[in-house]
Amino acid sequence: MAREKSSKDNAQALFHSLRSAYAATPVNLKIIDLYVGFAVFTALIQVVYMASVGSFPFNSFLSGVLSCVGTAVLAVCLRIQVNKENKEFKDLPPERAFADFVLCNLVLHLVIMNFLG
């Protein structure tokens, strides 16, 4: 009984500390996180749709899901490079990081449009 209570307390304490730690992150990083969340959510919706309706045409499904996952991954890379607490990238100007992000997205979406069918 006591263990359950303590684990519940633990979970609550964990939740609180996570929340407070996250509230301290700067706004631009939060925007990127929101974008990542949106992309993953869209991917999940597509998977649910595929599960209900069927996977034909498969290439469209693949390109749709992979485009969402792809932009999520690229946004995470951008976040890593822009984060001021990250020692490895302190020489990298954030404009350069953003330009790389845009370039990679361009290539990704070019391939997506080709594969969408």
Partner: protein, 818 residues
């Protein structure tokens, strides 16, 4: 900018900021790279010089034909091409089953040159694609090794790759095969991956994905990349070397790479559905989890992090087990566990010989013998372990990748001799690292020995015992820079040494292994002598056409003439390029009584077919010659080198192993008009169809059970002399090969099998001979048309005779061809 100034600069033991010196060093290294590229190109054009500008072997003829089609009809026709001139009556979807990288590359080169009004033919563009891309591959090796250990190692590795025989063998001028561009794409992809890992830039990650796309377009061996990189990522994660650069290097590659791979028609949905790619997805998920864990660890306090861990582990474990169980059920439901036959034969080398005789029969797919390692990578074979050790001091992400690459490629090269080619870049990289590290040690010792500089620690014990070897090693390390220029000047060499210092000026503590100054200076002098001697020797040997290989082995073993291993390497490489690997195999030659005899029988036969048969006639032969027949003779064939349809090949194999009447029935049902066999008995050509006959029996017997290998064997071997079995003496292959052979020398002595044949005088009832080439190498026969009237036998008795003959041979199985 004088030599004196730069050597003074070195003596001062500063030089981290002298930009002019840096610039000079850069210019020098680019100049050396250019020379290495020229070397790589020129060593591969021996075949054009010795024979002519012709396409070699079998597979390149198919690629050449596809390129011709591409240049004539355009890219849209190429994607949608259905070829009805092969695998009659099935045809083949070329657009969807060929790796387009090579043909598109050569086609673009041709188109570019033509649009600049340089009217080269398609054949010339195809023949010279391989040497151009080998020059590019050596530059890519420079990129890869530079990222691991610095510019010096890069240059050495590039030089080694330009000359390594196993790569030369698949990329001579005329060897127009996938590997010509695929090896460049492989090294370039790996190089860009390491660059992304070192810099953490998303730009290089994009370039990496595009290079991977080019690799997928070019060769089926791309699965090596998409399994090696996840393996390396997993290794980094497990050994605690996770960093955000690793995430940036790997995660975009997986997503972009899968999409790009799926865009290539030949791969298609295999990119997500076959087991070869599952490793990449698994590691993708793992790296997301690891990245998330590191992020949470960063923002929480340690106590809270522990709580989080226990919570997640308990919940996550249950979910994990469920997912893994589903995955295992999915994979286990397919009979090959989702792997393709070729990949399975790589993992389990005995798989092909048990289940897929077609794959087992290809000579390139056999395991290599020990001598072929020394033939193909020569001196590198014993430099590689030194390189592996050098990678561990210190171990970085990039050097752990190189170690993993060499380990896996060494294993795969042991499974299949064709994959020695994948081992070559890894071996060159590690050897380059080894040589450059040794060079580093010795030039540092020289520098510390120069008058005016103090603080030299002399490690007497080591140096006295190791001087002899190290002199040779110093000799080795000097060689690469030496011979890449035509006239080595000592001044330039000294400058280069000193300029290496600023690029390698790190504040690491290294044990100062200072050799006695006199010894090292003497070794350098010896080097200059050897350089001059080597250049002279090379000209002498090549001019007189000696085989330098026995001499090279002798020298390597006994150090006669004072030549060291590096000289041996170069002598051997040039010999290998000139003699062993330049033969086009369409044209054969040998030297006898001071004259060169050339056998051009293959092209003679194809030309005969081209000019003396109707365009729509179907030609049957064993599958080895299918590509050449469609390309050079321009006739429809039944089976060719693509070997995608085992049953069709087994049909042809059964026909070759059956008696004349049964074979005629099979060929007639396939609309075949002409059959040809390759026969080497008159001149002693060992790769003829009688020697390949065992595969025809095995493959045919694998599908049609009435062909039994035991019927053809006498005392466990295939014989064609008087002791041969009656089935062997009556089969079509025997008859077509030895028809009228007794007329050549009266005794019918077969030079390859070294015996007189069993049945010398016989007539052909269902085939007629239409052409035999000059040296009897290719023999072409025509099917006799079916008789209009059956004399002497009525239709009713026909089934009885056939059933009697089948019961006479003792089989109860119904022959499907009667």
């Amino acid at each position: 900018m004088s030599a004196k100034e730069s050597s003074n600069a070195a003596l001062r033991y500063l030089n981290t900021g002298n930009t002019l010196q840096h610039a000079f060093g850069d210019v020098l290294s680019y100049f050396i790279l250019l020379l290495i590229g020229i070397l790589a190109f020129s060593i591969r054009i021996f075949s054009v010089i010795k024979y002519e500008s012709v396409i070699h072997e079998f597979d390149p003829y198919f690629n050449y034909r596809v390129t011709q089609f591409l240049t004539k009809k355009g890219i849209y026709e190429f994607w949608n091409w259905f070829d009805d001139r092969t695998w009659y009556p099935l045809g083949r979807v070329i657009g969807g089953t060929v790796y387009p990288g090579l043909t598109l590359t050569a086609g673009s080169i041709w188109w570019l040159l033509n649009s600049l009004n340089i009217p080269l033919s398609v054949e010339t563009a195809c023949v010279f694609t391989a040497p151009i891309f080998s020059a590019l591959a050596s530059w890519a090796t420079y990129l890869l090794t530079k990222e691991v250990k610095g510019a010096g190692a890069g240059l050495t590795a590039a030089f080694l790759l330009a000359m390594v025989p196993s790569y030369i063998s698949r990329s001579v001028a005329g060897s127009y095969d996938n590997e010509a561009v695929a090896i460049f794409a492989l090294i370039f992809t790996f190089g860009l991956y390491i660059k992304t890992l070192n810099t953490g830039s998303l730009f290089y990650a994009t370039l990496n994905s595009l290079a991977y796309f080019y690799m997928v377009c070019s060769w089926g061996g791309y699965t090596f990349i998409i399994n090696l990189i996840p393996m390396h990522v997993l290794l980094c994660v497990i050994t605690g070397r996770y960093s955000s650069r690793l995430y940036i290097a790997y995660a975009p590659l997986v997503v972009l790479g899968t999409l790009l791979a799926a865009s290539v028609p030949v791969v298609g949905f295999n990119a997500v559905m076959t087991s070869e790619h599952f490793a990449s997805f698994l590691v993708f998920i793992i790296i997301q989890v690891v990245a998330f864990v590191y992020y949470i660890k960063g923002i929480l306090s340690p106590k809270m992090f522990k709580v989080a861990v226990t919570l997640v582990v308990s919940v996550g474990l249950a979910v994990c087990c469920a997912v893994v169980a589903v995955l295992i059920a999915l994979v286990a439901s397919s009979p090959t566990k989702g792997w393709s036959g070729r990949s399975l034969s790589l993992l389990d080398p005995t798989y092909a010989s048990k289940y897929i005789p077609i794959i087992a029969s290809v000579s390139e797919h056999q395991p290599p013998t020990w001598p072929s390692y020394f033939m193909d990578i020569n001196v590198l074979a014993f430099l590689v372990p030194a390189g592996i050790i050098a990678c561990f001091l210190p171990l970085s992400d990039a050097s752990s990748f190189v170690v993993l690459y060499i380990a896996t490629s060494a294993y795969f090269s042991g499974v299949m001799v064709r994959l020695m080619l994948v081992l070559a870049p890894a071996a060159c990289s590690t050897s380059g690292i080894a040589l450059s590290e040794a060079f580093d040690v010795f030039t540092r010792s020289i520098k510390f020995q120069l008058p005016g500089v103090s603080k030299a620690e002399i490690d007497v014990g080591e140096t006295s015992s190791a001087i002899a070897e190290e002199q040779n090693v110093a000799g080795k390390t000097e060689k690469p820079e030496e011979t890449s220029k035509d006239r080595p000047s000592r001044k330039k060499k000294k400058e280069r040494e000193h300029e290496e210092k600023p690029t390698k000026a790190k504040a690491e503590k290294k044990r100062l292994l200072a050799l006695p100054l006199v010894a090292t200076v003497v070794s350098l002098l010896l080097l200059v002598f050897l350089g001059a001697f080597y250049v002279v020797c090379k000209c002498y040997f090549i001019k007189f056409g000696f085989s330098t290989r026995p001499l090279a082995l002798l020298v390597c073993k006994y150090r006669i003439l004072g030549m060291d291993a590096e000289d041996v390497y170069k002598l051997h490489c040039v010999w290998a390029a000139a003699e062993a690997y330049s033969a086009p195999s369409v044209v054969l030659s040998y030297r006898a009584h001071g004259r060169l005899h050339v056998f051009d029988d293959f092209r003679e036969a194809y030309a005969w077919l081209r000019h003396n048969t109707d365009v729509n006639d179907k030609v049957a032969s064993w599958w080895d010659y299918g590509y050449q027949t469609t390309a050079m003779a321009n006739r429809t064939v039944i089976v060719d080198n693509n070997t995608w349809n085992n049953t069709h090949i087994a049909t042809v194999g059964t026909a070759m192993s059956s008696p004349e009447r049964a074979a005629w029935d099979i060929f007639h049902s396939l609309d075949v008009k002409y059959v040809f066999v390759i026969f080497g008995g008159l001149i002693g050509y060992p790769s003829d169809d009688i020697n390949k006959f065992l595969w025809m029996v095995r493959i045919g017997g694998g599908v049609f059970p009435h062909i039994k290998e035991a019927d053809y064997l006498k005392d466990g071997s295939y014989r064609i002399d008087s002791q041969a079995t009656p089935t062997m003496l009556n089969c079509l292959m025997y008859k077509l090969s030895y028809y009228r052979f007794v007329e050549t020398d009266g005794k019918a002595y077969d030079k390859v099998r070294r015996t007189e044949i069993g049945k010398k005088y016989f007539k052909l009832t269902h085939f007629e001979e239409v052409f035999t080439t000059h040296h009897w190498m290719v023999r072409i026969y025509k099917l006799k048309p079916p008789k209009n009237m059956i004399r002497g036998k009525t239709k009713k008795s026909k089934p009885k005779t056939s059933s009697r003959s089948s019961s006479r041979s003792g089989t109860k199985k119904k022959n499907p061809w009667h």
